[in-house]
């Protein structure tokens, strides 16, 4: 299968700090790809670089085999690639109604049948039309994240960039949002690139993943390999141990 998104030898630096150091990934069309690592490992920077939100100093990013300009992304790009951010409290305009929030991408891309699309998008994320004229402060965290997903989906992108989409949510609400993301991916045959620090979430959502550390990809593996413990890097093993929760040392001895 051809790569829907490919990053080759990507480097991003902020002054002297190398946030991404010669990173390459490729994600096939229809695939769900995970990026894991601790804070500062560069996983979010990689996602932002693909979205054109980080200063790429070297390397190239290709969408369906076509190299993208390092600095400028046109509307056609954003029509195909949309991003969902971590914090639904910060990513929705506090003084706009849900209706206005969902109008915005449609207006930008000159999509006509706004009415039908908004109702469909709300329906798709399981909120219904009663939420249409509410403000984001009237919604819970999970509902806000659904609106953020609806806003990304409304212009029917092919690729979704998900930056820790559930880490600001309660565990019980996380399950609902993950189910929603899985369902829309199935229905619309979307390609996902998902960043998370939670190995449980990533193995649940993604077929393949890359483990990042200090701006580099240290290991690439499939979710199956990870679950089965076929890991070669000590760093990945550490993440594995951490994800299993607290174990009292005395209990081990």
């Amino acid at each position: 299968m051809r790569a829907a998104i490919a990053a080759e030898n990507l480097t991003v630096s902020y002054d002297d700090f190398l946030a991404l150091d010669d990173v390459s990934i490729d994600v096939a069309s229809g695939e769900s790809f995970g990026l894991v690592g601790e804070s500062g490992s560069g996983k979010s920077t990689l996602l932002r670089a693909i979205a054109g939100l980080a200063p790429v100093s070297d390397g190239r990013i290709a969408l369906d085999g076509e190299t993208l300009d390092a600095r400028y992304r046109d509307k056609a790009f954003y029509r195909r690639v949309q991003m969902v951010f971590q914090d639904p409290y910060g990513s929705l305009h506090p003084r706009q109604t849900v209706d206005r929030l969902l109008q915005e991408p449609l207006a930008i891309h000159g999509v006509r049948d706004a009415e039908r699309r908004i109702l469909r998008a709300l329906d798709e994320v399981g909120l219904g039309s009663s939420f249409r004229f509410r403000y984001s402060h009237q919604l819970s965290g999970g509902q806000r994240q659904r609106i953020a997903i609806a806003r990304a989906l409304i212009i029917e992108p092919e690729i979704m960039l998900l930056d820790e989409p559930t880490s600001a949510l309660d565990a019980s609400v996380q399950a609902e949002v993950l189910n929603l993301l899985e369902q829309v991916r199935r229905d619309r045959k979307l390609t996902y690139i998902m960043v998370s620090h939670d190995l449980g979430v990533v193995t649940h959502m993604c077929e393949r993943l890359a483990v990042m550390k200090s701006g580099k990809v240290v290991e690439r593996l499939s979710s199956g390999d990870l679950v089965a413990g076929r890991i070669s890097e000590a760093y990945t093993k550490n993440l594995m141990v951490a994800s299993k929760g607290f174990v009292r040392k005395a209990a081990l001895a």
Binding site: G141, A171, V173, A175, D198, L239, M240, G245, F246, R248
Partner: protein, 277 residues
């Protein structure tokens, strides 16, 4: 033996423009020198329960209880001066995010020394030595250097350790930890929990561990209280968690995606109105 803390029918409510919001609705439990977990979703009242014990309920909130007793002191009727002398010295609280809960314009060492000297009559030099010893106890290497750093100069994990040091320096008997590791990286979380666990065990403190993560809490505590909509729906020994009876507790246990389980879609909570009744 009398329990250290007795909470009976605690209620916390907030008058708002749209009516009274009842955050905590009749919570009762007792705590000895043990580790108690309080688990629930956002808005379940778990943090407000911890804050009420600490005496940090906002002034406009209404708080009532038939009993809120810490080691013979009735916390509800105690004058502000008594509460102040308890807070920080005998009851301490660790907050979620060191980025927001440390003073950004004061060095870490000065903040720890301030806590110590507020509660104990010690000289400057001794306070400094004890602060550095405490920083070493929370496994900060090069404690002398960290003493002079400001909170923005250290990582989240280091900040949280400094906070633990600050809270434990006065030797509290009861420690309330409100989501102490939620803002930290997974790899750092375990270190911080390990330190907390060791210190609580060594000093024989009572611990209230508040978190939304049921699995984490159960691995850390002896006993777990599960809260929903301001009430306790289940109280269970941590080892018996797998046999939890309440559907809400089971739901919380099952909804996390874990390594090696293949469940698509994930089970979600089917909230029943009678849970909140």
């Amino acid at each position: 033996m009398n329990p250290m803390l007795t909470v009976d029918d605690l209620r916390v409510s907030f008058p708002t423009r749209t009516g009274l919001i009842e955050a905590v609705r009749g919570v009762s439990f007792t705590l000895g020198r043990e580790r108690l977990g309080i688990v629930g979703e956002s808005g379940s009242g778990k943090s407000q329960t911890g804050r009420a014990i600490m005496g940090l309920t906002p002034a406009h909130a209404r708080i009532s209880a038939s009993k809120l007793n810490f080691d013979g002191t009735d916390l509800l009727t105690a004058p502000a001066k008594v509460r102040r002398s308890l807070r920080g010295s005998r009851i301490a609280m660790i907050l979620q995010d060191p980025k927001y809960s440390l003073n950004p314009v004061m060095s870490i060492g000065r903040q720890i020394v301030e806590t110590l000297r507020t509660h104990e009559n010690v000289g400057k030099r001794e306070a400094r030595d004890r602060a550095i010893a405490m920083l070493e106890a929370v496994q900060i290497r090069d404690a002398g250097r960290v003493f002079d750093l400001h909170p923005h100069e250290v990582s989240g994990g280091m900040g949280q350790r400094a906070m633990i040091a600050m809270m434990l320096i006065a030797g509290p008997e009861l420690l309330i930890a409100d989501e102490p590791t939620s803002a930290l990286d997974v790899t750092v979380q375990l270190d911080v929990l390990g330190i907390l666990d060791k210190l609580v065990a060594e000093r024989g403190m009572g611990l209230i561990f508040i978190s939304h993560d049921l699995r984490l809490v159960s691995s850390f505590c002896d006993r777990v209280i599960v809260m929903y909509a301001g009430r306790i729906v289940e109280e269970i020994a941590a080892v018996d968690l797998a046999n939890a009876k309440h559907p809400y507790t089971q739901g919380l246990l099952n909804c996390m995606p874990t390594l090696g389980t293949d469940r698509h879609p994930l089970p979600v909570l089917d909230r029943k109105p009678e849970w909140a009744a």
